[in-house]
Symmetry: C2
DNA sequence: AGCGCGTATGTTATAACATATCAATCCGAA
DNA sequence: TTCGGATTGATATGTTATAACATACGCGCT
């Protein structure tokens, strides 16, 4: 699976594509992509960066889609549960899923300079972490894998 | 490297041992293990669980070692920077390092039931995550690897 | 001793992130 | 069409983290 986020790409189609997939998923699973939820996903999709709940809320509020924290948190909760977005624990922030539709365990590469975030896929439970867990008798249900550092662009700029 | 946290072990020596190593590290590197810092480390060491900054603060406050948030955050900041403690991002909480002195990239196994946390070591930058990063041209500086699930004990209890 | 400097602490206030609760409303299924 | 679950609206509050500024302490220097 490719790592999406740092490479140049056709972003408008990347956005439209994800929205379509999300709609299809909802139709299939009886979920409702309501206006707030849909708009929240669009806002997250607008950038390959993580947005804080209150950043999202600010945009929604401007558009009259709700002004209180629960509005943003409910929308984010829905998107995360549906697999349309992920929470970046190291940033307490949220990002649209870049691999929507594929069954995946996300891993993130977070640039500390420009704040862009790429979503890779590393199946951590099958690697060394899985080995360590097996050895300890631990049953992994969810894995958080986040790497912080410099993206290709900022790395070149620093050199 | 072994995974410390779930197995029965001589905890009082595990605590004393870590404190000694921390003192040695400080002496070697010109760091100061002041009363608040030392006590904070002891408090974290008391359990193989993660404590919130305010949990730590409550204990420190009881003992007259400071009553305001910055006291706890400064102590935690020192311990983390010195490598004596780690932050568990998925819990917004802190835990004493179980492998103090060894040069390591920690990975955590977090039991969602009993909240115990084991520290493993998986060198994630050399596994699949490292491969993905290399492929993307990303330079990893820090990696957060945290698995949530059931520890051996709670797993057995559930079955 | 007195001074200068850097580290650590004390204290207030506030920023940033997140959830509880309860009432009102929507919308599909029976 | 009415019931019930899902969604939204709104207020309040809980939790985690940091900004900002003042003060105290340790230590080398003269």
């Amino acid at each position: 699976m490719t790592t999406i986020g740092f490479e140049p790409h056709d972003h408008s189609s990347c956005v439209a594509d994800t929205l379509h997939r999300a709609e299809a998923e909802c139709a299939k699973n009886g979920l409702r992509l309501t206006p707030v939820r849909r708009r929240a996903l669009e806002i997250l999709l607008a950038e390959h960066r993580a947005l804080g709940a209150y950043d999202l809320l600010a945009v929604l509020a401007e558009e009259g889609l709700g002004a209180q924290p629960p509005v943003a948190y409910r929308a984010l909760d829905f998107l995360v549960k549906a697999g349309f977005a992920h929470k970046i624990e190291a940033l307490n922030a949220y990002i649209a899923c870049a691999h929507l539709g594929t069954n995946h365990t996300p891993a993130f590469l977070i640039c500390r300079k420009c704040k862009s975030v790429a979503e890779a896929d590393t199946a951590p439970a099958q690697g060394r972490l899985g080995d360590a867990a097996r050895e300890a008798g631990f049953k992994i249900e969810r894995a958080v894998v986040e790497a912080e550092g410099l993206c290709p662009h900022c790395r070149d700029a620093a050199a």
